[in-house]
Amino acid sequence: MNAMTTPNPPLAGRLRLTGYAFLEVLLAVPTLLFFVLTVVGGVVAVAWVGLGILFVSVPALRWITGRHRAFAARTLGTPVPADYRPMPANAHLVARVLVWAKDPMTWRELAWCLVSMTAGFVLSLLTFLLLVVIVTGGLWWYGAEPIMRARARLDRALLSYGTTERLEQRVQVLTETRAESIDHSAAELRRIERDLHDGAQARLVSVGMSLGLADSLLAEDPEEARRLVAEARQTASAALGELRDVVRGIHPPVLADRGIGGAVDALALDMALPVSVTQRLPGRPPAPVESAVYFAIAECLANVAKHAEAEHAWVELAYGEGVLVAVVGDDGHGDADPDRGTGMRGVMRRLSAFDGTMRVSSPAGGPTLVTLEVPCALSSPKTMPSSPTDSPGS
């Protein structure tokens, strides 16, 4: 993907590396400035003025380190991710500073400043000077690439987590999400048990009793027996209705039949307001992902119906670069708070078991957009189940 990854880049590659070196030399000045400001701001953070300084210096430092990450990534031909802790959408000022302070990446960046202003600065300046002082052109030709790669490795080591740290963080996330999904499924099982116990099961007991009574009354009071049978039939029908609801809550049959695409179509049809569905899925996601995404979309649409006062809603399903993306939008009044209901928290827990994420954008006045992303692989499109004609009959 990148010319710099070849062992002997041609002239253009070397010139580009030298360009990075030049920019890095220039950036050393603001690096020093914002490093000092951040340290000072941090020290006097107890006073408001310190917070004010931090609100300028930390984002500025992050911009500078972002540039260096990009240079390092292009020089080495591998991504150099930032991995900041996520900032809660409506965190107030002090909370923001606390998130920065707790983020190990902030401290790494400060350490990087020291290295970048000394050793890093020397390496970049050297590369640049070797070219500008024309007589050293030969040295530049052979030296530019190794020097800049050394600088990039230095930056990468400080500005992005190593394999071990990454694995530790991953284990941490997996432990949390696993505990959450175990809690979630235990709660779901309890809910299902309660639904069955209070609903269908109780009704079937009542059906049995009515039929038993009818049986004993058949000879002496056929009229009453008939009434009881009719009652039993009605109760059986209500029990079936409740069982259907329970089944829909566990795994909607249309999802089993048609996959996420058909199930979302069916969901849209059952909404009171018009919902348009567009989908570009080349295959079917794994069943557990389908189910989690289906319930997430169902919850979003239920919220639209409940709170948004929308005229129109839409659902988009797409897949790209190994990620299933579902967007649920509405033209309602916006200002939706994802933390308000327990429903959305359940959705997030369920998605996080698959490393999925949910983002809500809902400015006052609308529109509201909920974006769900779940990394997963797609299986090839399902073939029509009714097509085989040569399989043996039973």
């Binding site: 039939r233 059986a236 029908s237 079936l240 209705g241 259907r244 089944v247 829909r248 049959p253 249309v254 089993a256 039949d257 048609r258 058909g262 179509d265 069916a266 049809l269 059952d270 909404m271 009171a272 307001l273 018009p274 029509m384 189940p385 009714s386 085989p388 004609t389 040569d390 399989s391 009959g393 039973s394």
Partner: protein, 213 residues
């Protein structure tokens, strides 16, 4: 009347066979899987089919697909589709061809034997019998054109029509005279721009307009 029955549950297949036979139909074989069903439906001697949505081999929507395929081969071929649950989506797919002679009911409805047998008869005669649960889901939708133009009472009448009831049936359900129902149905036909035609066809088309709204 010769009917194909497709139902993978032996108990239910037995019950349905008994009910249909007592209703005066001939059940030419109870089938539990899609490939056999396709072969049975290709037989021109068959007058209609009563199908479960889920069948072998995959237990998804084989029955529904078989019904749609059969109707594309023989337009207007009467099918009564039964299921443990109903979906508006499936109702629309069944009705998409616009010919009527379609039934789509929850399996629970079979417990009202006379009503069910009556429904099968109406489907065989070219009528449309849609489950009240589907109708209720459609009623919950925000009204849209052209059904929008109907009064609430006319919507009620149309909903009952979609369930497959006759004017007399609608009259008794709404506690009005048959004459009043006739007045409403005429108003519905006019508002939905359905020109005078054979009455049955107009009813089917009114129902279709309603279900597609």
């Amino acid at each position: 009347m010769r009917l194909v029955l497709a139902e993978d549950h032996a108990l239910l297949a037995d019950g349905l066979t008994r009910i249909l036979t007592s209703g005066g139909f001939t059940v030419v074989g109870a089938i539990d899987n899609a490939p056999e069903l396709d072969r049975a439906l290709a037989d021109p001697q068959v007058d209609g089919a009563v199908l479960d949505v889920r069948l072998l081999p995959t237990f998804t929507d084989e029955g529904l697909r078989a019904a749609i395929t059969a109707r594309s081969r023989r337009p207007g071929f009467p099918v009564m589709v039964l299921s443990q649950y109903v979906e508006q989506l499936y109702a629309r797919e069944l009705l998409a061809s616009g010919e009527g002679a379609v039934g789509y009911l929850l399996k629970d409805r079979v417990s009202d034997v006379t009503e069910f047998v009556d429904g099968v008869r109406r489907v065989l005669a070219g009528g449309t019998v849609i489950d009240p649960e589907v109708i209720a889901a459609i009623m919950a939708r925000r009204p849209e054109e052209p059904v929008d133009r109907l009064t609430p009472r006319e919507r009620e009448v149309l909903a009952l029509m979609a369930e497959g009831r006759s004017n007399a049936g609608i009259a008794s359900a709404l506690f009005v005279t048959e004459k009043a129902v006739a007045k409403h149905t005429n108003a519905i036909f006019t508002k939905l721009d359905l020109p005078a035609d054979i009455d049955d066809n107009r009813r089917v088309r009114a129902v279709l307009a309603y279900l597609r709204a």
